[in-house]
């Protein structure tokens, strides 16, 4: 079984500042890892994913996440945030050995202030 912990429920940050949203997971098998984003009044959408290969993955809008197997973490970072990045971010995990059950964290609300 897998579980996901998002350590911060809310992260307020000023525009153009860097941000890190933390995610730790536990699993007895190898995993696939995901970050989903939910903008206000919109549905969840995939931001980035780690399946295999390079441990650093990037999104098209400047976010990146690094898979750290020894620390069982998949933290999300952006060097300079915009007002438009204000949203709820969910970390998710799925085991890679059969099964399709995806476990989501409780979410981190990123609030970017001008």
């Amino acid at each position: 079984a897998q579980s996901v912990t998002q350590l911060d429920s809310q992260v307020p940050v000023f525009e153009e500042a860097p941000v890190e949203l933390r995610c730790n997971y536990s699993s007895s098998v190898s995993v696939y890892l995901f970050w989903y984003v939910q903008y206000p009044n919109q549905g969840l959408q995939l931001l980035l994913k780690y399946l295999s290969g390079s441990t650093l993955v990037e999104s098209i809008n400047g976010f990146e996440a690094e898979f750290n197997k020894s620390q069982t973490s998949f933290h999300l970072r952006k060097p300079s945030v915009h007002i438009s990045d204000t949203a709820e971010y969910f970390c998710a995990v799925r085991g890679d050995t059969g099964g399709f059950k995806t476990i989501f964290g409780a979410g981190t609300r990123l609030f970017v202030k001008a």
Binding site: V4, Y36, G43, L44, A92, G99, F100, T102, G107
Partner: protein, 112 residues
């Protein structure tokens, strides 16, 4: 193209009533997922279909919850004898690869 659609968007039910929530996945997507999202929480897995086969229903909280996808496209989540603890947003997602899931807008169920 059209995304995942869900209906109704909002549903108010009196305790004890049965409800049916509909999901129209993206055309051609083999995989379909249902999640329950309580206020302030992340989505919680309920069940998974591959075409018409329900391969995992381990997340359904009780035997009052039932899901079907008879022709491998549209899916219905049915909740019998609704209880107040069933109040939540019910999300449907579909996928062609089982990695990236495309989510619908959800149905907000309120049980009074």
């Amino acid at each position: 193209g059209a995304g995942v659609s869900q209906s109704p968007r909002y549903k108010v039910a009196k305790r004890g009533q049965d409800v049916a929530l509909r999901c129209d996945p993206i055309s051609g997507h083999v995989s379909l997922f249902w999640y329950q999202q309580a206020l302030g929480q992340g989505p919680e897995f309920l069940t998974y279909f591959q075409n018409e086969a329900q391969l995992d229903k381990s997340g359904l909280p009780s035997d009052r919850f039932f899901a079907e996808r008879p022709e491998g496209s549209v899916s219905t989540l049915k909740i019998q004898r609704t209880q107040q603890e069933d109040s939540a947003v019910y999300l449907c997602a579909s996928s062609s690869s089982s990695y990236e899931q495309y989510f619908g807008p959800g149905t907000r169920l309120t049980v009074t």
